[in-house]
C-alpha cells in the first residue's frame, strides 16, 4: 500500500510558555484508501491534529508529508487541494441561494471554468445522493441532508483525503446513519482515504483502523477488534466501548467467564444463545 500521510515526531503547542504540549511526539503513517477513526476524550488533540494535517496550523517540531509532499509554506496550498474537511455543524457554512450554489462555491473561488464546475457539482451531489435537491434552499433541509450538502461541497474539489471532524455528533440518529453510510461508500466504492474523528464507537468500529489519542499522545493504534478487546483501558480514559464489551464487563462482575476476544453484536448473541439455550 502507498502511504498518503506520514507524520514524523510531530509536536505542537498553541502557547509556547505552556510546558505541556497539545500534541506530543506523534508518529503515524496512513495508507491511501484507508478508513481511519481517530478517537479520544474532548481536548485530547484530535482537531488540532486534523488542522495540522491540513496546514491550518504549523508544527512546533516534526514534519508532515501528504501525497509525497512535505508541508511547508510553499506546499501548503497544493496540499490543501488533496484534503477536504467536514465539520460538526454545517449550518453556519452555508453560502448561496440553493444547494447547487452552495456546492459550487469552493469551485467558483478557485476559478474553475463554468462547464467543468457544472459537471463537478452534479457529480458531487450524485455522490451524496442529493441530486434531486439541487434547486432547494439549504435552510429547508434536515440535519443529515445539510451535512450531505456540506460533504458534496468538499467532494466537488476532488480531494484524495476527507477528514470528518465530529461530523455526525450534532445529528439525530437518522441523520447520523445517513452520514456513516455515506462515509462507508466514499471509502469502499469511491476510494477516498477517510479520517473520521468521532465519539460514536459504532461509527469507529466500521473503520479499518482506530487511533486513540490521550492528552496529545497516540496510546493505541490498531484494528477495531484489537482496540475493543482492551475494553477496560478505554473505559478508564473516558471512552465508550461497543455494547457487547459493556455487557461482558457487567457479566464478568457477576462471576461469568467471558471470552477475551472482541465479539461483534451478532457474535455476542450467538455466544449467549449457545449457552443459554443449550439444554
Amino acid at each position: 500500500m502507498n502511504s498518503i500521510i506520514e507524520i514524523k515526531d510531530l509536536s505542537f503547542s498553541y502557547d509556547h510558555e505552556e510546558p505541556k504540549k497539545v500534541l506530543d511526539q506523534v508518529n503515524l503513517t496512513i495508507d491511501q484508501g484507508q478508513w481511519v477513526a481517530l478517537i479520544g476524550h474532548n481536548g485530547s488533540g484530535k482537531s488540532t491534529l486534523a488542522k495540522l494535517i491540513d496546514g491550518l496550523l504549523t508544527p512546533t517540531t516534526g514534519t508532515i508529508t501528504v501525497a509525497g509532499q512535505t508541508l511547508s509554506e510553499e506546499t501548503v496550498w497544493e496540499i490543501r487541494d488533496h484534503i477536504g474537511m467536514v465539520f460538526q455543524n454545517p449550518d453556519n457554512q452555508f453560502i448561496g441561494a440553493d444547494v447547487a450554489g452552495d456546492v459550487a462555491f469552493g469551485l467558483e473561488n478557485r476559478g474553475v471554468p463554468y462547464e467543468e464546475m457544472h459537471l463537478r457539482v452534479k457529480e458531487a451531489l450524485k455522490a451524496v445522493n442529493m441530486e434531486k435537491f439541487a434547486a432547494h434552499e439549504p435552510v429547508r433541509l434536515s440535519g443529515g441532508q445539510k451535512q450531505r450538502v456540506a460533504i458534496a461541497g468538499v467532494l466537488a474539489l476532488r480531494p484524495q483525503i476527507v477528514i470528518f471532524d465530529e461530523s455526525t455528533s450534532m445529528l439525530d440518529p437518522k441523520g447520523r446513519q445517513e452520514i456513516v453510510a455515506l462515509m462507508r461508500r466514499l471509502n469502499k466504492e469511491e476510494g477516498f482515504t477517510v479520517i473520521s474523528i468521532t465519539h460514536d464507537i459504532d461509527e469507529a468500529s466500521l473503520a479499518d483502523r482506530i487511533i486513540v489519542l490521550d492528552d496529545g499522545k497516540v496510546i493505541a493504534d490498531d484494528a477495531p477488534a484489537k482496540i475493543f478487546s482492551r475494553g477496560n483501558e478505554l473505559f478508564k480514559i473516558g471512552l465508550d466501548v461497543p455494547y457487547p464489551e459493556r455487557l461482558k464487563h457487567e457479566l464478568a462482575h457477576l462471576g461469568v467467564q467471558v471470552p477475551k476476544k472482541y465479539l461483534t453484536e451478532k457474535e455476542m448473541v450467538d455466544w449467549l444463545c449457545q449457552y443459554v439455550l443449550k439444554k
Partner: protein, 283 residues
C-alpha cells in the same frame, strides 16, 4: 394546545397540534421524537417564550392562553429555568463567576449576594474552584455548558427545562451531565423536563416519556412501558436503548424475557445465573 408559526403567510406551519398532557411535580420527563417533530416548540411554551396559538397550558399555577400578555407571566421565567440547545453560545461575561451571577443580580440581589449564590451554584454543577475566575471561553465544551446551567440555577427555578443538553459532548461529558440532572432531581427536588435523542438516557434517568411525531403527541407513558414494545418503536422509526435492542435480538432467537431489560446491568443479572449454571465456559 397547538402552535402554528407564521399564521396567514405562505410559510404557515403547524408545529404542535392539539396536544394534552400533564407533568407531575418533581418528576423527570424526557421528550423524544425526530428532528422537526415539534419538541423545541413545545418546550418553549413551558416558560412562556412561545404562547399557544390555540388551547392553553398551566405551569406552576400560571395559566397561559393565546391572549396572555408577557407582563402577566409574573414569576414564571424565574420559576422555570430554560436551558437552550448549545447554551454555551450565550455566555458573555469576563469570568465564570460573573457569568453565573448575572441573573441573580438582574433579579435584584446585591453584587455580594449574587456572587455568593454563583459560588454555591458553581459547586452544585461541579465546576472546579480553579476555573471560577477564568474566562468561560477558555473552558472545555462540557464545562462551558455547566457554567450556562449554573447561571440558570442561580435564579433558583423549581422546574428545569433542557433542550438536547448532551448533544455534542463526549461520552464522559454526557454521562456526567446526566448524573448532574439526576442529582438536581433527587437532591434538590427539581422537576426536570428534557429533550433527547439518547434512548439509553431515557431508560436510565426518566420516569415519564412524551413522544412527539409531526407535531402530535403519540405516546405519554413510562420508559418501561415505552420500551416494552419494540415493534411500535420500530414502526415509528425510533430507536431502542442498546440493552433493550440487544435483548430483543436474544428474544427473537428464543431466549424469553418477562419484560425486556433497559440497562446492561439488568440484562447481565438475568443472564449470569443461566451462564454460570453451564459450568466452565470456553471462549
Amino acid at each position: 394546545m397547538s402552535h402554528t408559526y407564521q399564521v396567514g403567510t405562505p410559510l404557515e406551519e403547524v408545529a404542535v397540534k392539539e396536544v394534552s398532557f400533564e407533568i407531575k411535580n418533581q418528576s423527570f420527563t424526557a421528550i423524544v421524537g425526530h428532528t422537526g417533530s415539534g419538541k423545541s416548540t413545545l418546550l418553549q411554551h413551558l416558560n412562556g417564550l412561545l404562547k399557544p396559538t390555540s388551547g392553553y397550558l398551566t405551569i406552576n399555577g400560571h395559566k397561559i392562553t393565546p391572549e396572555t400578555k408577557n407582563k402577566e407571566l409574573g414569576d414564571l421565567r424565574q420559576e422555570v429555568g430554560f436551558v437552550f440547545q448549545f447554551p454555551e453560545a450565550q455566555l458573555f461575561e469576563e469570568t465564570v463567576l460573573k457569568d453565573i451571577a448575572f441573573a441573580p443580580k438582574n433579579f435584584g440581589k446585591s453584587e455580594a449576594e449574587a456572587l455568593e449564590i454563583a459560588r454555591e451554584k458553581a459547586k452544585l454543577v461541579k465546576l472546579p474552584e480553579a476555573v471560577l475566575e477564568r474566562s468561560p471561553f477558555e473552558l472545555s465544551g462540557g464545562q462551558m455548558r455547566r457554567v450556562a446551567i449554573a447561571g440558570i440555577l442561580a435564579m433558583s427555578p423549581k422546574i428545569l427545562v433542557l433542550d438536547e443538553p448532551t448533544a455534542g459532548l463526549d461520552p464522559v461529558g454526557r454521562f456526567e451531565m446526566m448524573e448532574l440532572f439526576k442529582q438536581l432531581h433527587q437532591k434538590e427536588g427539581l422537576t426536570i423536563i428534557l429533550v433527547t435523542h439518547q434512548m439509553n438516557d431515557v431508560a436510565n434517568y426518566a420516569d415519564h416519556v412524551l413522544v412527539m411525531e409531526e407535531g402530535q403527541l403519540i405516546a405519554d407513558t413510562t420508559s418501561k412501558e415505552l420500551f416494552s414494545d419494540p415493534s411500535w418503536l420500530k414502526a415509528h422509526h425510533l430507536s431502542l436503548p442498546q440493552t433493550t435492542d440487544f435483548a430483543y435480538q436474544l428474544q427473537q432467537r428464543g431466549i424469553s424475557f418477562e419484560t425486556l431489560p433497559l440497562t446492561e446491568h439488568e440484562l447481565a443479572r438475568f443472564l449470569a445465573p443461566k451462564l454460570n449454571q453451564r459450568g466452565k465456559i470456553d471462549g
